[in-house]
Amino acid sequence: MEHLPDLPNEQLDKILTVTDRYFGYDFTGYARASIRRRVAGFMNRSGIRTAGELEYHLLNDETCFPRFLQYVTVNVTEMFRDPGFYKALRENIIPQLASYPFIKIWHAGCSTGEEVYSMAILLQEEGLLERTKLYATDINSYVLGKAKQGIFPLRYMQEYTRNYRNSGGKEVFSGYYTARYDNVVFDASLKKNMVFALHNLASDGSFNEFNLILCRNVMIYFDRTFQQRCVRLFQQSLCLLGYLGLGTKESLAFNDPQRNFEEVDARWKMYRRTR
């Protein structure tokens, strides 16, 4: 492994000021240790040695920022990630949602969309997909494009199939996609009620009222202030008694000072808006 360049705070700040002022992407509220590692990793990969040099490239090479954004935003996701979460969703939350005439779900920070397709499959099996709208948003237009396509590498399917089964899946998983060469494409019927849009959790506001919001492993990249802003945004975007699902290592313990949420599943980090 090559040694990553050192990025003292003032140099990192300089870079983050550039991305905020020139490109409108505010990373200043991101958790320092991980954003530092990502920026240093990007420099390493691009053969850039100093923060000054990176700043020059960002401002003078128009291909640089899109690549930078692609690299520093973490886009790791998988279908039915944490099967236990989906099992809890299927058994405890979805039956509650079934009582609504129609259902709106928001995947905040959806990345390449694996989670949205997982949800569509789950809803299909529970007979709710027809009356559900799935809103999927991310700050990165490149991954959103991927999510829209619903095309994923074939080599992941073995693991996704295992996840699907462990999450309480009822069908044959391969029935949901068509394989071609090295990729698979998911059924168009799953996509029918999906809406994809750019949305920045750091700067954009509420745009709808949802029954369920999934934001898993997104807030871990934010600092406290940013996290609290996010939680307020979710509260404003949920109907009363609407649900919020977070990643397994995330919690509202410190980010909900007004106690607007109650915990419904401690193990799988499901919450519900009570105020």
């Binding site: 492994m1 040694h3 990553l4 050192d6 705070n9 958790a31 320092r32 240790a33 991980s34 590692r37 990502r38 973490v74 790791v76 944490d82 099967p83 996840n163 462990n166 492993n217 871990i220 990249y221 406290r224 990643g247 290592k249 995330e250 410190f254």
Partner: protein, 192 residues
């Protein structure tokens, strides 16, 4: 020249590292230890029993999975959670990150050690135990470069030699210690 106080201890290991680690923790229990962070390579999506097992084996109750934004407290042992990289912020809190595995590992020993080296500099001790891949070598280099103390388990004693051997080949001045020597190192540097 007074010895640099130890602010934090980072431990990494893969196959064959659990028993030696438990042994070490048991040996230093009751001492005034700085925070200890351990990164084991774990199976993904498997219920993590490491904390329970460690508590049971060592009789030490102050063992927990590292939580996001939590302060590293002296006297505690923190286990890196499965499926995340574990980093340390300048304010001595944990930072989790689920970006790509490094050398097929998440958590990665390299990632944690590198971040600890940046934050603690000469105040960190890195310990690399048994394992069968090259993770940890780069992280130990980072610790060494910033003046921290890199202790490598003696490959002769390690159940799997690859990890310690790889590290020894890439460090300028590795301290190759048996488990007993690692134990003595801490006993001599801590108060009861």
């Amino acid at each position: 020249m007074p010895e640099q106080p130890i602010e934090a201890v980072m431990v990494g290991g893969s196959a064959g590292s659990f028993e030696p680690f438990a042994h070490l923790i048991k040996a230093v229990s009751g001492k005034e230890m700085p925070p200890v962070v351990v990164v084991f390579h774990l199976m993904r999506n498997v219920e993590n029993r490491v904390v329970d097992l460690l508590r049971f084996k060592t009789g030490n109750a102050q063992i927990a999975e590292a939580e996001e934004k939590e302060f590293l407290k002296p006297g505690w042992v923190y286990v890196a959670p499965a499926n995340y990289h574990l980093l340390i912020e300048e304010d001595r809190t944990f930072c989790l990150d689920s970006s790509d595995p490094v050398y097929f590992s998440r958590p990665s020993i390299d990632v944690t050690f590198e971040s600890a080296a940046q934050v603690y500099g000469a105040g960190v001790v890195g310990i690399l135990l048994s394992g069968s891949n090259g993770d940890g070598t780069y992280g130990m280099q980072c610790i060494e470069r910033r003046g921290g103390v890199p202790l490598v388990q003696d490959p002769e004693e390690a159940e799997f030699k690859t990890m310690p051997l790889s590290c020894i080949q890439h460090l300028a001045h590795p301290r190759i210690y048996t488990l007993n020597q690692i134990e003595d190192f801490f006993l001599s540097r801590t108060r009861a």
